[in-house]
């Protein structure tokens, strides 16, 4: 499968996953495209579509918590921001994702 096709399949797979959690793909299409492209590259290089804005530790139990969509494992924090850390997903009611602040969990 080529990168472009993989990007589209991740988009499809992940949209299904985040919907019951109250999230949708960011309406910022340029951002979504860029992030999905990074995830395809991360999957090719490191075996899984890891979050493009979180670092790996090479410890499986830790790294699996940042495989996209990682919302189930950071729910409280992301719900407080109304977006996930990298911004690929936002709460369903968000129409202006640029207005959402990015802050660590202890500053919620």
């Amino acid at each position: 499968m080529g990168s472009a096709e993989r990007k589209e399949s991740l988009r499809y797979l992940f949209a299904r996953v985040v919907d019951p959690l109250g999230y949708k793909l960011t309406p910022d299409e340029e951002l979504a495209d860029f992030l999905l492209e990074q995830e395809v590259k991360l999957e090719q290089d490191h075996g899984a579509p890891f979050c493009p804005c979180q670092g790996r530790t090479r410890k499986r139990a830790e790294d699996m918590l940042i495989v996209c969509p990682c919302i189930p494992f950071h729910r409280e924090h992301f719900d407080a921001m109304k977006r996930c850390w990298c911004g690929l997903f936002v709460h369903k009611d968000v129409s202006d994702p640029d207005s959402l602040p990015q802050f660590p969990p202890d500053e919620g």
């Binding site: 996953v17 019951p20 959690l21 899984a48 139990a61 699996m64 919302i71 494992f73 729910r75």
Partner: protein, 106 residues
């Protein structure tokens, strides 16, 4: 269109306690799981990226997907970390020593 139907699979004795067996009633990927003596049937497909769950660790009624470690309750099908996400579950019954799985109508 057809309604739900019971499809025979394997002998009940083939599913040991604390273990699972993949079966394919009418081509549908199903895991037959026995935990604490109780039989369950779940889709052999992770809710995350559709990886087959077979090969995953089963412990205390929880199966861990071998791809990215998403954990599901084999009785309810629910993802432990977010129960709104789940894998399909199927009703089962045993007749004449054989496990039948109920497939919903297509």
């Amino acid at each position: 269109m057809s309604g739900p139907q019971w499809v025979p699979t394997i002998d009940d004795s083939k599913v040991r306690d604390g273990a699972y067996v993949p079966v394919y009633p009418k081509g549908v990927g199903v895991l037959l799981v026995r935990t604490d003596g109780e039989l369950s049937a779940i889709a052999n497909k992770c809710a995350h990226m559709a990886c087959p769950l077979e090969g995953g660790l089963l412990h205390g009624g929880i199966i861990t997907c071998p791809c990215h470690d998403w954990r599901f309750d084999v009785r309810s099908g629910a993802l432990l970390d977010a129960p709104e996400l789940s894998i399909d579950t199927f009703a089962t019954k045993v007749e004449d020593g054989k496990i039948l799985v109920e497939l919903k109508g297509a």
